[in-house]
């Protein structure tokens, strides 16, 4: 059995008295794609920030290809995990053109052929020369998010964390970006951790999923099984909350109230 790409054990994070993440463990095989599903306050964003080293876990360990992330050097950590944030308007440096932003990362990591790699990256996310020469201000939300993906891919990280990376986009744009991500996954075999509140989107991109509720994993498994045969009442509530034909918000409200009373 080979070492998993990403191996997370017993992750805990508390802010004051508020437990954000409690005893979270999971593994991601090479080429795998895992969804972290939850609502606000579920701890999914805190987990994402711990994975990329922006937050230090109180307890627990993150191993990338068997190496502890906490012990890695700055550059090694960057090559282990990268992230795409939610807000396309704030996640790019407003003062740099897209090309300059990509070049910046590559220079830091001493890439031998930066110009060629930039072209390759732009091509991978479907941006052209015009977008490359533009600053974020001159681009649409979807284009900015593609640029952010290219920047994250630049150093060929082992794991890509997507923190609600498509939720701020218009429906038609969201679909374009989802396809870009699906293609990247297929072509590069990169490991993906997809943080989202949207089950349908997670289903499109992931093989497996964890459902988080108030910092605790309430259910985990293959996404199709999870969706067709959910075991935990909270998972069931999440699934039924998605609007569909014959949807009854009244019933869901009752379900939710029952769940709140139980906990």
């Amino acid at each position: 059995m080979s070492t998993p790409l990403l191996d997370v054990t017993g992750l805990c994070k508390t802010y004051g008295t508020n437990v954000a993440v409690s005893d979270l463990s999971f593994t991601l095989p090479a080429g795998g794609s895992l969804g972290l599903v939850g609502e606000s306050g579920s701890g999914k964003t805190t987990t994402a920030r711990m994975l990329i080293g922006l937050e230090r876990p109180d307890r627990g360990q993150i191993l990338v290809k068997g190496e502890p992330l906490a012990a890695a050097s700055r550059l090694a950590r960057a090559k282990a995990v990268q992230i795409v944030f939610q807000d396309p308007y704030l996640s790019l440096d407003p003062r740099l053109t897209i090309r300059a932003a990509l070049d910046d990362v590559l220079r830091l990591h001493r890439h031998p052929d930066r110009a060629a790699r930039v072209t390759e990256l732009l091509d991978q996310v479907g941006l052209g020369a015009r977008e490359a020469a533009a600053k974020p201000r001159g681009l649409s939300g979807g284009q900015r998010q593609r640029a952010a993906i290219a920047r994250a891919l630049a150093v060929e990280p082992d794991v890509l964390v997507l923190d609600e990376a498509v939720s701020a986009l218009d429906v038609s744009i969201q679909a374009q970006v989802l396809n870009v991500l699906a293609d990247i996954r297929r072509e590069t075999g990169i490991g993906i951790v997809f943080v989202s509140h949207d089950l349908a989107v997670v289903r499109y991109l992931c093989d497996e999923a964890l459902v988080l509720h108030r910092g605790v994993v309430v259910e985990r498994g293959a996404i199709e099984a999870l969706l067709t045969d959910p075991q935990d009442p909270y998972t069931r509530l999440l699934i039924s909350s998605v609007p569909h034909a014959g949807w009854s918000p009244e019933e869901i409200s009752e379900q939710r109230r029952a769940l709140q009373q139980r906990s």
Partner: protein, 293 residues
């Protein structure tokens, strides 16, 4: 040769950018910029422009009205007003320039450091700045004069210290706000060093706003230093200075000879209005760009 061919188009595009920027300015800003340049040129080239020695009082020609010999008349001490205005511009503008340069550089560094480190360092610096805020600039300047004697040096240093916390706090809050943006987090995730991110990415991002504020501060510093000279605690006659000129001409005003007091006062107002309008114009533009982004 190759460097020349590469840099030339870049320079040209930069010049083009500047031209385009000038073209976008509103009329009040343009007028203010022209006035400021004129006053600045007058101060720089004062030794070559002034028709009389500004420190040389001709007691046989006091309070002369505007004439061919004395374009803007003379004051009660017989000094040529036009020459005094030109020469006075040097001290009157140099002082605030010193204040702003010093307070901006140190304030920016302190603010940046404070926001970047955060935690107890930030809290401590915040407390120190709170204490510094308690000393109004003019008061600190007066105290400095009491300790070190009259002149330009001590008050300028004192005021630079008094202005520093304003810049520091602005930079701190701008940086702290900018720091929470995902693009800064992305730089960290990419493996950039904290020093690189703070100095090469954060500082340039907040720089224009700091400059806009410092431009406005220049006006306040000019007013404070002129007030000090007016009180007889700043620049000492016979060294020409606008505030001192007004002080010297007070009696003449009450005698109905206001010219030698009004003209330096007008210059003070013009320069302060001009820097305020320009500073706020760019401040608003930056704020607007922020809102749109």
């Amino acid at each position: 040769m190759s460097t020349a061919t590469v840099s030339h188009p870049r320079l040209q595009s930069r010049l083009g950018g500047w031209a385009a920027r000038l073209g976008r300015l509103t009329w009040p800003v343009r007028i203010c910029a022209v006035l400021l340049v004129l006053v600045g040129l007058g101060a720089v080239f004062a030794p070559w422009l002034e028709p009389y020695d500004p420190t040389d009082g001709d007691l046989s020609n006091t309070l002369v009205a505007m004439s061919g010999a004395h374009w803007l008349g003379t004051d009660a001490g017989g000094h040529d007003t036009f020459s005094q205005l030109l020469a006075g511009g040097r001290t009157s503008l140099l002082g605030p320039l010193g204040v702003v340069l010093f307070s901006t550089v140190f304030g920016a560094l302190v603010g940046l450091f404070s926001a970047w480190r955060g935690g107890w360092v930030d809290a401590l610096i915040g407390r120190v700045l709170d204490v510094m805020f308690a000393f109004p600039s003019l008061l600190l300047a007066i105290l400095a004069v009491a300790l070190f004697g009259k002149g330009l040096g001590a008050p300028v240093v004192a005021m630079a210290i008094a202005y520093m916390p304003y810049t520091a706090r602005l930079v701190r809050s701008l940086t702290a706000q900018e720091k929470t943006r995902p693009y800064i987090a992305a730089y960290r995730v990419q493996g950039h060093s904290p020093a690189f991110i703070a100095l090469r990415r954060l500082l340039p991002a907040v720089g224009p706003t700091i400059l806009a504020q410092s431009t406005v501060n220049f006006g306040y510093a000019l007013l404070d230093l002129a007030a000090l000279s007016f009180l007889g605690l700043g620049v000492q006659p016979p060294t020409p200075d606008w505030g001192a000129m007004i002080n010297q001409s007070q009696a003449a005003v009450l005698e109905g000879q206001p010219l030698s007091a009004v003209l330096p006062a007008v210059l003070v107002v013009v320069v302060v209005v001009a820097v305020t309008v320009i500073g706020e114009h760019f401040g608003d533009r930056l704020a607007g760009r922020e809102a749109k982004a």
